[in-house]
Assembly symmetry: C2
Homo-oligomer: 376 residues x 2
Amino acid sequence: VLIEKVDTPFLLVDPVKATRNASRMRERIAALGTGLRPHVKTAKSLDVAAIMFDGGVGPITVSTLREAEAFGQAGYTDIVYAVGIASHKLARVAALRERGVDLVVLLDTVDQATAVAEASKRSGIRIPALIEIDCDGGRGGIAPDDPLLPSLARVLADGGAEPRGVLTHAGESYFCRTEDELVAAAEGERAAAVRAADHLRGAGFDCPVVSVGSTPTALYARDLSGVTEVRAGNYVFFDLVMAGIGVCGVEDIALSVVTTVIGHRPDRGWILTDGGWMATSGDRGTAGQPVDQGYGLVADVHGRIYPDLLMADANQEHGVLRMRDGSTAPLPDVPVDTQLRILPNHACATAAQYDRYHVLGPVGDLQAVWPRIQGW
Amino acid sequence: VLIEKVDTPFLLVDPVKATRNASRMRERIAALGTGLRPHVKTAKSLDVAAIMFDGGVGPITVSTLREAEAFGQAGYTDIVYAVGIASHKLARVAALRERGVDLVVLLDTVDQATAVAEASKRSGIRIPALIEIDCDGGRGGIAPDDPLLPSLARVLADGGAEPRGVLTHAGESYFCRTEDELVAAAEGERAAAVRAADHLRGAGFDCPVVSVGSTPTALYARDLSGVTEVRAGNYVFFDLVMAGIGVCGVEDIALSVVTTVIGHRPDRGWILTDGGWMATSGDRGTAGQPVDQGYGLVADVHGRIYPDLLMADANQEHGVLRMRDGSTAPLPDVPVDTQLRILPNHACATAAQYDRYHVLGPVGDLQAVWPRIQGW
């Protein structure tokens, strides 16, 4: 299919770039001597996961039970659900385990551990859980040396569930600005996880899983001793936030939104497109970075970036393109009906606006449509 | 179904509030002696549209051809597609008209008018178009006295298409802060549309349609002389942005996201939920208003608002609830597994994260699931 024949807006993935990004991460983690457990929450796609595993399957991380169910159905049997468990979701967890999927939950409170233990007892299925460790104060989890850590493992083990290890996420690494900060965030993440694992082992638990990860720390870790697996997901697409942190270049970004020019206002210095925030998401993740990319950088349909042209404003179904403040370049003369690509601030958020990907083919055509897993 | 039995996050609509909001708008527009053409882009739901029309059908506004196709299929035969037309979409427009739907497109350039005329000739179907008028400098459209206005009508008429009238949208009314400003925005919108219609009529065109609208101006217009129809959509749900403008109270908001508490960090002053930006959208529309509501106000499962408690931060699947800055109230003691409702900044954006609504029943139960129309 010719790309010009598809009604805009639509979500475009470049499988060549995604493949290169996936190889880079696999090689990097292999060189560090540990395992990779890709997070499928960015792409939510069996086809993109196949790229992440170079055609095979493997251990994955999910952000919703819907993802776990879809991947479980497709033959992925080793899954970590990396969002703190709510007890009403445990019936679906048990059902998936019953179907042969080794699904592991996450928790950091006694209430949750008790609920997991009770669900294990009730269902006769020993549910494994990781205990969430806080490595940077950003979100959930307990400190590595918190006495609650062995207590939680004890509640699980005594109640018929399985304490399988510890998990942490250096979410604050998204705010790093230099390589030194990224290296330090990665080491902080590793050290917290390993310290927590040692704490658990000192209390008599095995702790076979020591899980860390985020795309920035995965790419900047110098050493992962003591870590058994790295979780990362964004890297398969990358985005402007990641480019702003410095972990990729804008030319590595494998995801874009194709829009059509529907108006020109040279008097106001803008171009109007049919891609608003419904098409790109309202994510403004680069707003807090040194270079604010608005709602996204703009490229032509072949992916060549227009220097200094930004999607500066968004209504539901309208995008407003303008030159970056301070730019001396003229507004490109792009006629009505021209297709343009918008590179996303945040691939996870932009992709979430769609139920499918259009897949770029070798000669700039569209070679496939890949569905996305939606909902919870 | 008991509300507590449904896995969170999910999107909850209160049909009693939506019905009251819809009646208020119908009565208001009827009192002003003009027609109402609800915009279905907020709800994207046949069931919610039925509330807007008190059980019947009527003229609607859409933001995507997918909406036009779904509503056309369901018996809505009078539809305005209020986003500037791109020529590659005209085949779907012609197909809908062939099926008996009076679908009208929007444009403001000669290129678009030429494309509509050519598509009319090619298909043998006379496609009607409204010409977009700019009333506040915010988006698309031409000035009411722009000589381009009759030229566009001429291109349409001579080429076998139908110039049906003018349309404007006071998008800047979302930034009004006082009743006087809202009244002035409404009058500015009306005056621009009527002036444009007079301009067209002076050039020998009929201009049967003079279309204005936005939820704030629809609710604050004092006089709509010369206007044939008002478009508005957000009003059926309302949201915190609308409450911040002052066009509704927070108690009128008919839409919320139900989440579950998955963690407590009283040491950091926060409660963690399983509803992140994937559940609420990343829309921060109140950030520019006098009262910033974060990612949303927080209510209990029955809808009672916790004073000063905000969803202050969001990851993909985690929400962080905190007391508003400066609040002296203590963090509510809400145990893990408790369901909470988050009231949205922007109903259009929050609803867009879901493929369905759960519908609140008369005794706080869930009485139905209503699908949403997704995509383009």
